[in-house]
Amino acid sequence: MSDWEVVIGLEIHAQLATRSKIFSGSPTAYGAPPNTQADLVDLAYPGVLPVLNARAVQMAVKFGLAVGATVARRSVFARKNYFYPDLPKGYQISQYELPVVARGSLNIMLDDGAVKTVGITRAHLEEDAGKSLHEGLANASGIDLNRAGTPLLEIVSEPDMRSAKEAVAYMKKIHTLVRYLEICDGNMQEGSFRCDANVSVRPRGQEKFGTRAEIKNLNSFRFVEKAIQYEVARQVELIESGGKVVQETRLYDSDKDETRPMRSKEEANDYRYFPDPDLLPVEIDEPFIEAVRATLPELPDQKAARFARDFGLSPYDAGVLSASRELGAYFEAVVAGLSASQAKLAANWVMGELSGALNRDSVDIERSRIDPAQLTGLLNRIVDNTISGKIAKEVFEAMWSEGKAADAIIEAKGLRQITDAGAIESVIDAVIAANPKQLADYRSGKDKLFGFFVGQVMKATGGKANPAQLNDLLKAKLGGGNA
């Protein structure tokens, strides 16, 4: 395989978290029985008219400000005309020539820690379509219009990504951002956050882009990565075997891990876009923009920079802990009960034990069985040497399953660390007396046996001996060695 460069651009569809639809008063809640959340406007009854939901515009503007984009003072809704049963009007209301948001950018962190800026061409408002239902209906298809008219923000990137990993990093960053901004719940299983990937390859050094294929409707980070990897391999193989990539829309089949053509450009619809005469142009003035700007939270990059600066965390740790607002808030609440120098300890525990337990049991951090104050309680026992880090993990598991405070578990299980030198010494004496051969070997230079003695003492004390004390006392007792 010669040297190919991969070029990827993403079109992300984020469902906006408005209570009602973009052009009607129907609720947007997911999972209701079919067609119970579709009113006459959603059903496109004769004579009905769309009325724009101002909340959707605020959310789009919020996104635009967060990615440093230009918010259009005047944007226009257009009709995209095509026939499909899940599209009741026979056209989708979208923004075409004049989108509400244009020319923004977002930074992503690459595996090597380098930061890359990805351009955001535009973000526009549009309505979602309904769903066709084919299961359980003999010789017929059903239509569920609950989703019809749900507001979407379509976020279109520049073709700036150069690998599947970069594409995933960008998508994750947008995912983080829209949840920070509270404009999208980010629920990918329910389709609230999904993307289309435009993928092409070109010989490295060539300026002109290769012919691209568009992979539709990817609704998980893993699928985005796998679909792009498959598609890149397919295109490279095709070109290297003398073939040509055709511009087409493809679907990713996750069961077979392959992409398949959906429709080619030649049979593409002519959507006959034109401005929707039922809706006035959206006029946005400075006070509106400023009012939205005032609602912007601390953004992920700002939070990560602050964590790195104030708590001395590595850029990686700071990035992980700011990946969601909830995780960041949890971490900060834990740190608040510790001294600043213990922030790294808190970071390790939040990213390690806590995240592990949350993942294992599929629990959201807001519903964590150990709240920040309880975790702080546990970490304080490490800091004040009541327990060792190793025992702390055992206490953590007990806290997780029993829901009790660290101190209660330490007392109940007698896990308090032995810090009484005399008590530790008497155990050491007993261990040495019971292992004369090892003692001799050690003293004759087998340094590694130091660990054996540590292990024996820990075993005898149930792991409760203070490790630092044990080290010092053991060295003194064994003497003669080189440790």
Binding site: Y45, P46, G47, L49, P85, D270, R272, F274, L279
Partner: protein, 484 residues
């Protein structure tokens, strides 16, 4: 006779309890039963509901409630959705469609206490100038039943002219109120675009459609517009400007009013039509108005512009009629494409299909700039012409139609000839301006209309000028033979 009384006179008698709404309703229902078969002005009659509504209005009157339209019967064009009542839009596509809600116009007039007698015949989806494209057959002109009544609101116009109702609603996209009003000898008002809500009015061309009214006088039109007009949060294109009292200015003297004679309208006008306009201008100058020549140089572009913009919007607006959720569905569709093709192929008539095809074409990739965009530019130029004219004059005046009512069938084979019938009315739609047509005499025994067009939201001034003309003339009181 009751049916010759104005809305104001009827309201007065209702309030004085000299007649009841029930009697009035029975009177008009009786006329419809007797006279409509020769006219075919109606698609649906709602006798039972009408009598119930009349009884309710009588109860409100008995309780001391007062209102200029309380207890007054009306007919709605079948383009307005009426809750629980068939709303066909003159099409086979909606022959089985019972609307589940009231259009805002219907709801407002209902709240004012009107009594709906039924729904009137119309060109299919309001596409036509003669009422011959209706699935329910052509409407006949009460002045001569071999003639068309004009369109698309031909049923409402004929019913008002034949005194089957005190008034009727209509819609005007390119002249569909003013042209049939002229051809049937009644007063037809098309308000400013955005003055009356379009919610519940089945869309033909959204940027041009406007609801209005047929009455027998400008004074009656003022009373009806009062109830219809106003901002509607459900129509984003309705305009939130205060609604003035349309009746209070009717009697204002016209002294000093500047009336513009549209050169483009008068050039090449048929001599008898020109003579009627000459008479009307003399009346106006006699009333103290001053006349000026004004020119709208881009007005000759209005028909071609309209026949790009209106079909473009209609091709998209009518996509919802796909046989899936309501309306006509073909028998035994083989698959989805077959369902679409046959439902639409069988449900729509020829003129609707012609406009959908034209509209689809002008929006297509490669043609959009040459047709749709160019038409939008021409539309802007026409609007600017009107704006310049209204910097000089208060209103402009001209004929409503080039000729009186023509024979049924005469123009059905030649769409362009049919389209030219709207040559004087389309400009106001493209510019969103209010216009009114009032009867101004007869040619060959058939009524002709005088058209007044004003600046945006100048309905009060238009009605004032129309009312003063009707105070000085009696053309609007002429009744077709057999309908007096």
């Amino acid at each position: 006779m009751l049916h010759n009384l104005s809305i104001g006179e009827l309201a007065d008698r209702l309030i004085k309890r000299q007649i009841s709404s029930t009697e009035l309703t029975q009177h008009f229902l009786g006329r419809i039963e007797r006279l409509n078969p020769a006219l075919n002005a109606m698609i649906t009659l709602t006798q039972k509901q009408a009598l119930a509504d009349a009884a309710a209005a009588d109860a409100r009157l008995a309780a001391g409630e007062r209102g200029p339209l309380l207890g007054i019967p009306l007919i709605h064009k079948d383009i307005f959705c009426t809750d629980g009542v068939k709303t066909s839009c003159g099409s086979r596509m909606l022959d089985n469609f019972v609307a589940p809600y009231d259009a805002t116009v219907v709801a407002r007039l209902k709240a004012a206490g009107t009594v709906m007698l039924g729904k009137s015949n119309m060109d299919e989806f309001a596409m036509g100038s003669s009422n011959e494209t209706s699935y329910y057959g052509p409407v006949k002109n009460p002045w001569d039943t071999s003639k068309v009544p004009g369109g698309s609101s031909g049923g409402s116009a004929a019913a008002t002219a034949a005194r089957l109702t005190p008034f009727a609603t209509g819609t005007d996209t390119g002249g569909s109120i003013r042209q049939p009003a002229a051809l049937t000898g009644v007063t037809g008002l098309k308000p400013t675009y955005g003055r009356v809500s379009r919610y519940g009015m089945i869309a033909f061309a959204s940027s041009l459609d406007q609801a209005g009214v047929f009455t027998r006088s400008a004074a009656d039109a003022a009373a009806v517009l009062q109830a219809m007009a106003g901002f509607d949060p459900r129509d984003s294109t309705s305009v939130d400007v205060p609604v003035p009292d349309y009746s209070s200015d009717l009697s204002q003297p016209l002294k000093g009013m500047k009336i513009g004679l549209l050169r483009e309208f008068f050039e090449g006008l048929e001599p008898r039509n020109a003579a009627l306009l000459e008479d009307a201008l003399n009346i106006y100058t006699g009333l103290g108005a001053e006349t000026f020549q004004v020119s709208l140089p881009h007005l000759p572009l209005s028909v071609p512009t309209y026949y790009v913009v209106a079909p473009a919007e209609c091709s998209s607006n009518l996509s919802r009629f796909d046989g899936v959720r309501y309306g006509y569905r073909c028998e035994n569709p083989k698959d989805l494409m077959d369902l679409y093709k046959r439902s639409r192929g069988e449900g729509f008539g020829a003129e609707v299909k012609r406009r959908i095809m034209t509209g689809t074409y002008v929006l297509s990739a490669g043609y959009f700039d040459a047709y749709y965009l160019k038409a939008q530019k021409a539309r802007r130029l026409i609007t600017d012409d009107f704006r310049a004219a209204f910097a000089k004059v208060d209103l402009v005046i001209g004929p409503t139609t080039p000729t009186p009512a023509f024979d049924i069938g005469a123009k059905m084979d030649d769409p362009v000839l049919m389209y030219l019938n709207d040559i004087y009315t389309i400009g106001a739609n493209l510019a969103g301006l209010p216009g009114v047509s009032v009867p101004c005499g007869f040619v060959d025994g058939l009524p002709m209309g005088l058209q007044l067009i004003g600046p945006h939201f100048a309905e009060a001034k238009l009605l004032n000028a129309a009312h003063q003309y009707q105070q000085a003339t009696d053309w609007h009181t002429h009744t077709p033979r057999g309908y007096a």
